[in-house]
């Protein structure tokens, strides 16, 4: 069943063993993403953004605190009922499977309700959406880095996930592709819950309903910025730069001159 799912991160502590010591990456962080909301996580490299995303995806467990999924009325939703679409920093396409096959692996539970023809159609549509229609039979080593990342996005979206987790998904794309994919992602705002780790302030303001600016490691929420700009957004509108400046200030960057 199609559902909008939110995520609540409450007092989460997470550390990793570094030799005989513990490297604490998250130290009591709390944040919330409402169902259908698009939020971005911005912060310095190594702050723990990826760790936070992995906890939200259920790939790791917190040492303390909790990460729970919620529905529209803030009731808990069991993790087994939530379809998560994940885009890692690197594409992680299986080298032995064609681009179409890789994308089809993102169908997850949705595949059960579809016959073979419908599955093929869903995969074809996802490939077309990301401009990969002509490359469906290619193996990953036969396509460019940017195309691989687009295939990873197609794989994350083909299953119509309840929750889309994006770890710097556009980092490896050239500017033209980056803008094109931003358009695709902006279409999901309001209809799908998205949490995106990014280093791009412009990307965060263009796509997000809210932006969490995180501190250096161990990560804590330094600032929470609401971006109530109407959609579709205009990057050159005065309001856009206002929010971008807010993010810059929250990051603690002092403009030169």
């Amino acid at each position: 069943m199609e559902q909008l799912v939110g995520v609540v991160v409450r007092d989460v502590i997470k550390g990793y063993a570094a030799g005989s010591q513990e490297l604490r990456v998250l130290d009591g962080i709390s944040l919330r993403c409402q169902p259908g909301e698009f939020i971005s996580l911005l912060g310095p490299s190594g702050a723990g953004k990826t760790t936070l995303l992995r906890l939200m995806a259920g790939l790791d467990r917190p040492d303390h605190g909790e990460v729970v999924y919620i529905d529209g009325s803030s009731k808990r939703v069991d993790a087994s009922e939530v379809r998560v679409g994940m885009v890692f920093q690197e594409p992680r396409l299986l080298p032995w499977a064609s681009v179409a096959k890789n994308v089809s692996y993102g169908l997850q539970g949705r595949a059960k309700a579809m016959n073979r023809h419908e599955q093929e159609r869903a995969v074809r549509d996802a490939l077309e959406l990301f401009g990969l229609g002509a490359f469906s039979t290619y193996l990953p080593h036969q396509i460019s880095g940017g195309m691989k990342q687009r295939a990873a996005l197609a794989r994350a979206l083909v299953g119509e996930p309840d929750l889309l987790l994006l770890d710097e998904p556009l980092g490896s794309l050239d500017i033209k592709n980056r803008l094109a994919i931003q358009e695709v992602l902006s279409q999901f705002a309001g209809t799908r819950t998205c949490i995106m780790v990014t280093h791009s302030i412009e990307e965060a303001v263009y796509l997000s309903d809210r932006i969490y600016v995180l501190s250096d490691r161990p990560a804590l929420v330094k600032s929470e910025i609401h971006v109530p700009l109407p959609r579709p957004r205009d990057r050159v509108a005065p309001g856009f730069s206002t929010y971008a400046r807010q993010v810059i200030r929250a990051l603690g960057v002092t403009p030169a001159g």
């Binding site: 995806a57 259920g58 790939l59 379809r83 998560v84 994940m86 890692f88 690197e90 992680r92 299986l94 080298p95 032995w96 499977a97 692996y105 993102g106 997850q108 539970g109 193996l139 990953p140 080593h141 794989r155 299953g159």
Partner: protein, 243 residues
């Protein structure tokens, strides 16, 4: 090109009388022995016997080696439990088992096929196990992120991800098969290329002896080339750079 040059040189030196033909027969006499053995049907018979033994022994080793290798690679507990025993067994040369297999299975086909299976089994097992155990954690994590079932992890990640090294193991297993088979046929057989070589020594037919050796090399080469073609067809990614 180089093998052809060697044969021409070999023939030239033989014609000049540099080699003692009772020790090193000329290529032309080996060729003549081959033509004669083909006409009499002897060569086809020996080749047929050896090939059939290799096919039967190797297939058994391939099925057992790949299955057990995947299981060992995937299930660490199994590796802990039976890994040491398997690594002890693989240190024993297959030839050492020939008397044992003859004692157990008799002088017939079973003992020869068992030696082939034993010889081919370990390289297949070892390569498959290593490959399955070393599948990138990133891919397994991908499977978790996209909620693959255990069966899907096996069929989508473990098996295809291991295919490259599995093929290497199969090719090593094939060449081991020939070595072990010839040894077994030399010790206890009344047919096959190993037997043909031993018999030619007793009958003082160095040309037939060299014929047997060359046919073994050609057969091994052809089978290996076939396996490589099969790998290119079934697992082309395993021959390309993984990026």
């Amino acid at each position: 090109m180089v093998p052809l040059c060697i044969v021409v040189l070999w023939q030239g030196l033989s014609s000049l009388g540099v080699f003692d033909t009772s020790m090193i027969p000329s290529p032309l006499s080996v060729l003549a022995a081959g033509a004669s053995a083909m006409r009499s049907g002897e060569l086809t018979r020996h080749v047929g016997i050896s090939v059939l033994r290799v096919v039967r022994g190797f297939l058994a080793a391939a099925i057992a080696g790949v299955t057990l290798g995947l299981a060992l690679g995937w299930i660490p507990l199994l590796r802990t439990l039976i890994g040491p025993l398997l690594h002890f067994l693989r240190q024993i040369p297959p030839v050492a088992w020939i008397p044992v297999f003859i004692m157990w299975f008799g002088i017939g086909e079973s003992s020869k096929i068992s030696v082939v299976t034993y010889a081919a089994f370990f390289p297949i097992l070892l390569n498959t196990e290593t490959a399955a155990a070393q599948i990138s954690g990133n891919y397994l994590e991908l499977g978790r992120a996209f909620q693959f079932t255990s069966f899907q992890v096996l069929t989508r990640i473990i098996v295809p991800g291991s295919l490259g090294p599995v093929f290497t193991g199969l090719r090593l297993g094939l060449s081991n098969s020939w070595r072990a088979l010839v040894a077994a046929e030399m010790l206890a057989s009344a047919g096959g290329l190993g037997y043909m070589i031993v018999l030619s020594r007793e009958l003082v037919q160095p040309d037939v002896m060299f014929l047997g050796i060359i046919v073994l090399g050609l057969l091994g080469y052809a089978v290996d080339a076939g396996a490589l073609r099969l790998q290119k067809r079934l697992a082309p990614w395993s021959l390309s750079l993984r990026t």
